[in-house]
């Protein structure tokens, strides 16, 4: 059962190698989409090319479906997945400023890396700016600390706010994604350059949209939250390598790098 790391399948040292592999795939797919090109990225803000939105929404929907179905099948324990905590005000203000930085600089953090390695000097300068911006934040942190913690709600999910189960949320998200695809393709046809934009088969798109909404509908009916809650007690899954001494260490405890099998929980961005 996943997450494998949380069940002691491998240790912190190996997790860093895995990070390199996951990062490699991440950078690879971003570059394939053309996200190493600032002009392609910002075209979304001038209504010409919505590749950024299509990639983001599709990735979100695919991963969301995967997580919920994995949970229904008992392949992943979502209670052991790190949920990003909500801090309403810094997240809204941070998002607005990041949006301005995106259209001004032409990149977001990861895409700037992909662009910089392919020789884009503007992306390299953007990275320098990000390092400087992080430094400024750290220097001003004593003054910002109050706002940084403003609107803290803990790890709340969309399903916690109106108190409906995540299967229904998944259905709503999939309908929203299909609606967004339909809308942005209409806008693209009007403002975009049809020579550059990808042409997909209408029939494939309709079939994919139907499958997506159907997957959401199934989740809305089966209620993944209830299934996960029922499974939580009767199935105390044993980690396969439980013989190895598993030590869970919080990073702030300040342990020097030990040579033994070690699991470090240092999530957070």
């Amino acid at each position: 059962m996943g997450p494998l790391y949380k069940f002691g399948w491998f240790d912190a040292a190996y997790s860093l190698q895995l990070a390199g592999l996951i990062g490699f795939l991440f950078g690879f797919v971003l570059e394939r989409a053309g996200f190493g090109n600032a002009r392609k990225l910002v075209a979304i803000f001038y209504l010409r090319d919505f590749a950024v939105l299509k990639v983001m929404f599709t990735a979100i929907v695919v991963c969301m479906m995967g997580l919920l179905y994995f949970s229904v099948f008992g392949w992943i324990d979502l209670s052991r997945v790190y949920i990003l905590p909500t801090y309403i005000w810094p997240q809204i203000v941070g998002g607005l400023v990041l949006g301005v930085g995106f259209v001004m600089g032409g990149y977001c953090p990861t895409t700037s890396v992909v662009a910089a390695v392919s020789g884009k000097l503007d992306a390299l300068v953007f990275i320098g700016g990000m390092i400087l911006g992080s430094f400024i934040f750290a220097e001003l942190f004593p003054f910002l600390e109050g706002f940084y913690e403003a609107g803290a709600m803990g790890p709340v999910l969309l399903s916690d706010v109106p108190n409906i189960h995540s299967g229904v949320i998944a259905l709503l998200v999939s309908i929203m994604a299909v609606g967004a695809y339909w809308l942005v393709e209409k806008v693209e046809q009007r403002f975009g350059d049809s020579e550059v934009l990808p042409h997909g088969s209408k029939r494939v798109k309709r079939a994919a949209a139907a499958v997506l909404v159907l997957l959401g509908l199934i989740l809305a009916i089966v209620n993944p939250d209830r299934i996960a809650a029922e499974r939580a007690t009767p199935l105390p899954e044993k980690p396969p390598e439980s013989k190895a001494a598993v030590q869970t260490t919080a990073p702030e405890k300040g342990k020097p790098a030990s040579t033994g099998f070690q699991i470090v929980e240092d999530e957070g961005c």
Binding site: I22, M56, V81, G94, V114, G133, V156
Partner: protein, 169 residues
């Protein structure tokens, strides 16, 4: 530059699977902005170690005497660079250039890239993540604040795009 890029929906599915793989193996998603914060901490620690240790926000990175770059997300960002390099190499897109619209000069574009980077670096620290670590990862796990954050990015960019039209169009 070769501008024949892959279909965004196909890429979206692949990216979703990479993200799912990360959740399944590690129990966490992707991210990269904190790497730049860690580079800033490492740089400051090199130049002014006393000051770096007194900087509260960097203290966590510098605790226990290890390099602040010995972190999961730092290795992920390193991998992203290699993956991007490989993809650009096989499509012959490695080329030294400054990407900009036809009506802006190189130096103006670079200054805007620097300013945009400063804003992005600052904003990502404030929001505890960027487009990948906060928006992509958080939205997939249906985290409430991450959805707010994602819509705020689009709002901020669309609201100000008009003022940067000369940079791109």
């Amino acid at each position: 530059m070769n501008q024949r890029y892959a279909n965004p929906y196909v890429i979206g599915v692949l990216l979703g699977l990479v993200l799912l793989f990360s959740f399944y193996t590690m129990g966490r998603g992707l991210g990269s902005s904190s790497t730049f914060s860690r580079v800033a901490a490492a740089g400051l620690d090199l130049v002014a170690p006393d000051h770096a240790k007194k900087t509260a926000y960097f203290a966590e990175y510098l605790a226990d005497g290890r390099s602040p770059l010995m972190a999961w997300l730092a290795f992920l960002t390193l991998g992203a660079g290699l993956g991007g390099l490989f993809s650009a190499f096989i499509s012959r897109r490695i080329q030294g250039e400054v990407l900009r619209g036809p009506s802006i000069g190189v130096s103006a574009r670079l200054w805007l890239a620097l300013a945009g980077g400063v804003l992005s670096g600052f904003a990502a620290r404030l929001a505890r993540g960027c487009t990948s670590g906060q928006a992509l990862t958080g939205a997939s796990e249906l985290a409430f604040g991450s959805w707010l954050f994602m819509f705020a990015i689009f709002a901020g960019a669309y609201a100000t795009a008009y003022f940067f039209r000369k940079e791109w169009l």
